[in-house]
């Protein structure tokens, strides 16, 4: 992807939003491109939703600049911005039926009734709810409400769609279906999706790029594989997937260089104590303290001689849980799996 030739859809420069003493968004810089599926990932209270609301116009920045397609929008009300939002609670209008809900954006802009009805039909087809126009929101299932909220937000043909944890209320199965469907709708209509979630797996599954938020700041921006394979901070290494964090003396002994490192548990393999070590590999010996069988894979907690613990995940390829608790093993991993991270929290 050549980012230089792509149009910038949303640009946040040094954006802050403070609520009294609380720095909800703290000097955030972001550049989202046209047609990108971009996730804002972070725990609750990390500022990701506030960031979305700043782009939507429900909040105004304390300082900094927000641009939509090159136009400064600080101070512009939500109804004059070319973005639409899918709300966490869907925010469907209970006194209107599905058709009226979806057509609301056209109705307030005085689009003639005939055109409105065709476009509502198109939207119902897009979200695969044909023939539902006359239902009331209360007669719909959670997944169907979700689709109505999506259709309603898309009918104005926004250039950027903001989604605030839209799948949070759905059960796992429906959630996974909607993830695929959202992604396919996004690819079909080709607009920018800004997707807020606290679910790292969801972010990895759907996104072109991810920004990881913590305490109002962005910790790291990158593609899902960059975020997962090369976390740059301790927070990202721990929040997206799990990591072994090595620091201090033990880190220097194991990796050969000073600093703080993150090692993904699945990058480490368990071998016999006497096994030879190939070039470019790190190794450590220890005793298995715990074996947790998880079906698809098994998680081992290995106590190293140097005093640290390492978590190792092995796929259950042939037999399950071959290594018993208490047995002595050797752990090996490639030196490139030692990811240096900043030492901070």
């Amino acid at each position: 992807m050549t980012s230089t030739t792509r149009t910038v859809a949303v640009k946040l420069s040094e954006v802050c939003r403070f609520f009294g003493d609380v720095k909800a968004v703290d000097h955030v810089n972001l550049e989202l491109f046209d047609g990108e599926f971009f996730s804002l990932l972070g725990p609750s209270g990390s500022g990701k939703t506030t960031c979305l609301r700043l782009i939507a116009g429900f909040e105004q920045p304390t300082s900094g600049s927000i641009q939509l397609h090159g136009v400064e929008v600080s101070g512009v009300p939500p109804y004059d911005r070319d973005v639409n939002t899918v709300f966490q609670d869907y925010a469907l209008f209970p006194h209107m039926n599905v058709g009226q809900n979806i057509g609301y954006g056209l109705m307030v802009k005085n689009v003639p009734k005939a055109e409105r009805e065709t476009r509502v039909q198109d939207m119902l087809d897009l979200v695969r709810l044909p023939g539902m126009a006359n239902r009331k929101p209360s007669q719909l299932s959670g997944g169907q409400r979700q689709r109505v909220a999506l259709a309603r937000a898309l009918i104005n043909h926004p250039r950027v769609l903001l989604l605030d944890e839209p799948l949070g209320a759905l059960d796992l199965k429906l959630r996974q279906e909607m993830q695929i469907e959202l992604k396919s709708i996004q690819q079909r209509i080709g607009i920018t999706f800004v997707f807020v979630t606290h679910d790292q797996e969801e972010a990895l599954t759907m996104s072109d790029r991810i920004a990881v938020f913590n305490l109002g700041k962005i910790e790291q921006i990158g593609t899902p594989s960059e975020i997962y394979e090369r976390p740059t901070t301790r927070f990202v290494a721990g929040f997206v997937g799990t990591s072994n964090i090595l620091s201090g003396k033990i880190a220097e002994i194991l990796t050969g260089s000073p600093g703080t490192f993150a090692i993904r548990p699945e990058k480490i393999r368990i071998v016999d104590v006497g096994a030879p070590l190939a070039d470019g590999m790190c190794s450590a010996e220890g005793k298995i303290r715990d074996v947790i069988y998880l079906g698809m894979h098994t998680r081992y907690l290995v106590e190293l001689e140097g005093g640290a613990d390492l978590t190792v995940v092995e796929q259950n390829l042939e037999t399950s849980a071959v290594n018993a608790r208490g047995s002595r093993v050797k752990l090996v991993w490639h030196t490139s799996s030692n990811r240096p991270i900043s030492a901070g929290a």
Binding site: F58, Y79, D89, L92, F93, Y104, V108, A153
Partner: protein, 264 residues
């Protein structure tokens, strides 16, 4: 704990019946003696039943004037309350400012204060301002406590309306006015109706504040009160009281229905 399936013990049923009887027996008396054939004194049971007093009240010009005045006051006071109450509720709901809670309390105060305090306060204020006591001073007096019922109903409904609906409307391109017209108003419509009905009922049978803010006018409650010193017209008074019961009871029933139906 839901115990609606089980029936209440007999003692509780009797107690409930007694309380209801205590509360509503006087009303039954009024209704009953509106039909009595006796003119002056109450003997129980009434010696006979008649509808002649309904015919007699038709000829009482002073009754119709009082009824008309009470209706005109109640309607205008309710309208004022609907407008001011809604605006106040919207302001309190939407904005955060220093002294917001105190302001909210001050809005509710007129209904919590004894009517006589409100009455005296209004009488001095109106006297100081140089207004002549009459129709409009009564309307102003009634509006002070009618605003409260509308305000309370509307703000409770606004607090139950999800903020994201309003945001969704703005997000989809609706102006502030359109959002009010298409989203907020339908959401608070039944609250307005209920608040308005209560306001109407409150105003219609109000006597204390009215006594302090009226000039020579007689509203229906004042008229009824003045009739008590004329024992020969007692059945006529009871018929008038029936009108008051109907005019206040029906709106309150409707208001109850609307506030009970929760908007999902």
């Amino acid at each position: 704990m839901m115990r609606s399936e089980t029936t209440a013990p007999l003692g509780l049923k009797i107690a409930t019946g007694m309380v209801l009887l205590f509360l509503h027996f006087p009303l039954l008396i009024v209704v009953l003696y509106a039909f009595t054939t006796e003119e002056a004194s109450f003997t129980f049971p009434p010696p006979g039943l008649t509808t002649q007093w309904f015919g007699e009240i038709l000829d009482r010009q002073d009754f119709w004037e009082a009824l008309g005045l009470s209706l005109r006051i109640a309607v205008v006071a309710t309208l004022i309350a609907l407008i001011l109450g809604t605006i106040t509720a919207a302001a309190i709901y939407r904005s955060k400012f220093f002294g917001r809670e105190a302001f909210s309390l001050m809005v509710i105060l007129p209904i919590a204060l004894p009517g006589i305090v409100t009455g005296i306060a209004l009488r001095s204020a109106i006297g100081l301002s140089g207004l002549t006591f009459g129709y409009w001073t009564i309307v102003i007096g009634h509006a002070t406590f009618c605003v409260v019922t509308v305000y309370n109903n509307v703000i409770a409904r606004l607090r139950r309306t999800s903020q994201s609906q309003i945001e969704a409307s703005m997000d989809l391109g609706a102006s502030t006015f359109q959002t009010f017209r298409y989203i907020i108003l339908p959401n608070i419509a039944t609250a307005l109706l209920a608040g308005g009905m209560l306001a109407f009922a409150l105003s219609f049978d109000e006597i204390i504040v009215t006594t302090f803010t009226a000039g020579q006018q007689q509203t229906l409650p004042i008229w009824i009160f003045s009739q008590l010193s004329r024992p020969r017209d007692r059945p006529v008074t009871n018929v008038a009281a029936l009108f008051v019961i109907a005019a206040t009871f029906i709106p309150i029933l409707i208001a109850y229905r609307f506030t009970r139906d929760t908007v999902e």
